[in-house]
């Protein structure tokens, strides 16, 4: 499967017109990453968006006693989208479970696309803002659930769901 096909099958980019989709594919770089490779590290600034061409990536967060797995990503799924516009520290670690083929888009390349192709920039910002609305709603729900818990362990679990 080539990158344009991967993007076409991804939930985020399936609605993008062919011209913009091909332009995005031409800007991204496909590479093979070994098992255990950290694409994004919790606590460090992220600056790259990735889409998985083939393989699996696990998303984890550190807690006081262990590392909690919060998501498992497969072919055509993406991560790091928000780091394209946000310069803050990453709140999770993304690690290759086995060998992974992934396409990357660094923030500098995104900025060039942003200023040269309005339809593509518009599409990206709709996805980013939708993701952030989802994250805000999730966090609000987690805090509300935590407020109803009695012990610190139950609160911790509510905040990691």
């Amino acid at each position: 499967m080539n990158l344009s096909d991967v993007l076409r099958q991804s939930p985020e980019f399936s609605g993008l017109p062919t011209r913009e989709l091909d332009m995005l594919a031409d800007t991204m770089v496909v590479r093979d990453y070994p098992a255990g490779h950290h694409f994004i590290k919790e606590g460090r600034p992220g600056d790259t968006f990735y889409i998985i061409v083939e393989g699996q990536v696990v998303v984890t967060r550190k807690t006081a006693h262990h590392v909690a797995e919060i998501n498992h990503l497969k072919d055509c799924q993406s991560f790091g989208m928000i780091s394209l516009i946000d310069h803050g520290k990453s709140t999770a670690t993304c690690t290759a479970v086995g060998p992974v083929k992934a396409a990357s888009l660094p923030r500098t390349a995104f900025e060039m696309l942003y200023h040269s192709n309005i339809p593509l920039a518009n599409h990206f910002l709709h996805i980013v803002s939708r993701q952030l609305r989802h994250d805000m709603r999730n966090l609000a729900n987690q805090i509300r659930t935590a407020m109803t818990q009695d012990s610190s362990d139950e609160i911790k679990n509510a905040l990691l769901k």
Partner: protein
Amino acid sequence: MAMTVDAFCLSFPALARSTNKSHISALLEVLETRQISAGQTLIQENQSSDTFYMLLEGSLNVTMNSDGQKLSLGTIDKGGCVGEISMLDDAPEAATVTANKDCTVLALSEENFWKLDKQNPAASTGFLRSLSHFMSDRIRAATELLLPLIESTDVPADSAVLSEMLTNAYANLYGLGEKA
């Protein structure tokens, strides 16, 4: 009198930081100025709302229902915003927002946002970028307050302290000030 671009930038700097003046000018054309009377409800918890509000004058009170009790979360003051999560989604609102006193707001309805998106996609993209920064900052501020609860082995045992930490995180997520 219609609001100027410079006045908008001064009143809502966070919403103006990732866009340019011509895009703000296009945005202003689809914003409506509305007067809200004291006691009037702007947003109702558990109901969907399709409008993003920017507060020009006055003060808004934010409450939520918790086990049948009305819990006061804080206030939104001049320069604050509300409704960003549900403006473009059909999801229900997480809290009720009521005017503490007579207010003036700038309102961006979903219909007018899509009108802007169609007529001037560069302007709507700039607005979405500013709004995304704004939401990202709030998520980060709330998450920072929650990290001690997730990552520390030394979590406070006092339920009142825990409750205050959670309430503060919620207030940061929605950019709320002191409780009314």
